[in-house]
């Protein structure tokens, strides 16, 4: 590890500075997997989050027996009225129906505006429960307890909430900042390898597009990260959240710099959309999207081939796909055209102009088409490496 990124202790929470919507991210070991011995932690957390009313604990049917029930028992013991709300597990359920399920349960339990929604789960639970909190009686408090690596480094920072629509991913949603975030590293022990790798894709994204030092650290630390080493994980999560928090703090509503966080996402969203959501994990689609965005950047002469080579190598080491699916140029364009960064029909891409440095730019159709139509698809990786 380089001197300018010292290993933090897990007991120092990370501030997301957003004025009167600021909040803390706590990175800890055990509060979710072993709640009975963390009563003081949760008690302090609820106080810090201004939790005065009842708790709606939203989780999925995989996590409810694993963590949810014990947490609800502890929260009840701490004196809260707890309304458990269990939704199905999976990206394909991230829709209006899941939102209704949560709202219905909150209304049936007669929760008032003092209620707090606790989202225990991955990105799906966090996004939908967060949107439910944003829109319940015009907004109630919300605490994120992300249990996947992807949710810990991405969706738990920044306040983006929402649901998918048949015509596009995350098309309906709101900005709603949580009052606090609890990252329990021990929840990653049971995360399937494929989902864990998908989270690493976003971690790599932060390094590749925003912080060369962090990228270099990741190249060195990847074997330890793959073994889910607590120390390496703590730094990887903390530095990812720091990088995102710094950008979100300067551009909460994504009018400018925040778009930089979407490196790889314009292509990635198209992959997810074209495959009908769910066959590709978000992080897998972003991994391929980053390779495509890097190839596009190289084609435009913004970045050297060595950077593309290092990105492809690091993604592959992390166990991520690097070759795009077989789609026609028309299919790519159709699925990219609903990208939320688009303005007046013009697509905008996050391009890297050096390791750890990025910019948002429109791209000429010919350059884009060259990347979209690379055949065989594997040539794109070669192109990213060889250009």
């Amino acid at each position: 590890m380089t001197p300018d990124s010292p290993m933090p202790s897990t007991d120092r929470p990370l501030l997301v500075a957003l004025g009167d919507r600021s909040y803390l991210i706590h990175i800890a070991d055990g509060p979710v997997s072993g709640p009975p011995s963390h009563a003081a932690f949760w008690s302090a957390l609820f106080a810090e989050c201004g939790t005065v009313g009842d708790l709606a604990v939203v989780t999925n049917d995989t996590l409810a027996p694993r963590y949810g029930e014990a947490l609800c028992r502890l929260f009840t013991k701490l004196g809260y009225r707890v309304v458990p709300i269990v939704v199905p597990d999976g990206e394909r359920f991230k829709n209006a129906e899941m939102l209704d399920t949560i709202h219905d349960a909150m209304l049936e339990a007669r929760l008032d505006r003092t209620a707090t929604v606790v989202a225990l789960g991955g990105g799906v639970v966090g996004d939908v429960a967060g949107f439910a909190a944003a829109t319940y009686q015009r907004g109630v408090r919300f605490i994120q307890v992300p249990t996947t690596l992807l949710a810990q480094v991405d969706s738990s920072v920044g306040g983006k909430t929402g649901i998918n629509h048949p015509l596009g991913k995350n098309m309906i949603g709101a900005f709603h900042q949580p009052r606090g975030v609890v990252v329990d590293l021990s929840t990653l022990d049971t995360l399937p390898a494929r989902e864990y790798a998908a989270g690493l894709a976003e971690v790599i994204k932060y390094g590749a597009s925003l912080d060369a030092t962090f990228f270099t650290w990741l190249e060195d630390a990847m074997p330890r990260l793959l073994m889910r080493d607590r120390g390496a994980l703590t730094h990887a999560i903390r530095r990812s959240c720091e990088l995102k928090a710094e950008i979100v703090g300067s551009d909460e509503r994504e009018s400018g710099r925040r778009a930089l966080l979407n490196f790889g996402h314009t292509f990635g969203h198209a992959i997810e959309g074209a495959s009908g959501y769910g066959s590709w994990l978000h992080g897998e689609a972003v991994a391929v999207g980053m390779v495509m965005a890097a190839a596009l950047s190289a084609k435009l002469g913004l970045v050297e081939q060595s950077v593309c080579r290092r990105l492809v190598a690091l993604l592959a080491t992390a166990g991520l796909p690097v070759e795009p699916p077989r789609l026609s140029v028309e299919e790519w364009r159709r699925w990219m055209s609903t990208d939320k960064k688009a303005e007046r029909g013009r697509l905008r891409f996050v391009l890297i102009d050096g390791l750890g440095s990025s910019r948002v730019s429109q791209v000429d159709d010919a350059d884009l088409d060259a990347v979209l139509s690379a055949r065989p698809e594997s040539s794109l990786v070669d192109q990213a490496v060889v250009v």
Copy 2:
């Protein structure tokens, strides 16, 4: 009219001061009913509202042929791509289905985040289209063009948006401030008398709970207001918006003072809920709710009988109901318990403690039950007058 409430000219817009979410309310004569001669007005308005992208013009099937089509033609002529979205007319359609209709049309037209939603209609169109704007791609611009008196004096100020749920009115929604509001007085000429009176209920509310001078002016001006005199209307609308804007500016998210705007609404919402929404107009329910809240205030010794008498008389002169429907105490309590002002199961009421002066307070069950169980219901009015 008293010297401290001079008649404003219609060309001076009213500022709703909310920091970087501030906006102007334009009170004018003709831009909606006769758009071709108001091209310059609309052009300036769109510039003021930062409207750079496409327009989604949401209106209902009554207003589309009356105003919507001509407005869309003008907006097209001004160079905008216009997506007209027509929804059914009526409070019973203010639900998730109408929200979906608007979102689906916006997505099918591939509107991006630079789009602006123009809500042309009464409170239903304004609330649902505003909520659609709040949640489309996590929030797009929104312009209110209220065409009912109720919407002009109430829902066009303050940024409350939302839909009804089978378990409660406005239970799902968001705070989302418009970029601008256009009040065209001439749209009131075709408003049915019953809807017009319902709007006057909210006007009277501002006077009774916040501004004794305005209340006294209303007693004097009511005959002219009933004739829809432009001068009297301009002052009534402007003063109502000013009073609301001043409170909203000091408490945008309704954590404190904003609750004062709900005088008569706790009882009123229960009347609307118990009757299934739609058989009572919102303003009619609020009128009766104010009589009940005034009677409760008198019962607690907060206000003199003469104030209650003047309130009942002014409401009756405006053509509004003043007697509550026949509900059991249990029914009242059930419908009031989902009131968004409730905290931890305790109802809070807006009470008047003088003409033009109000406070939020919890109330003892015995005092509340005395008002809820007044039999015959007409005795409540007598009680309000006689206590």
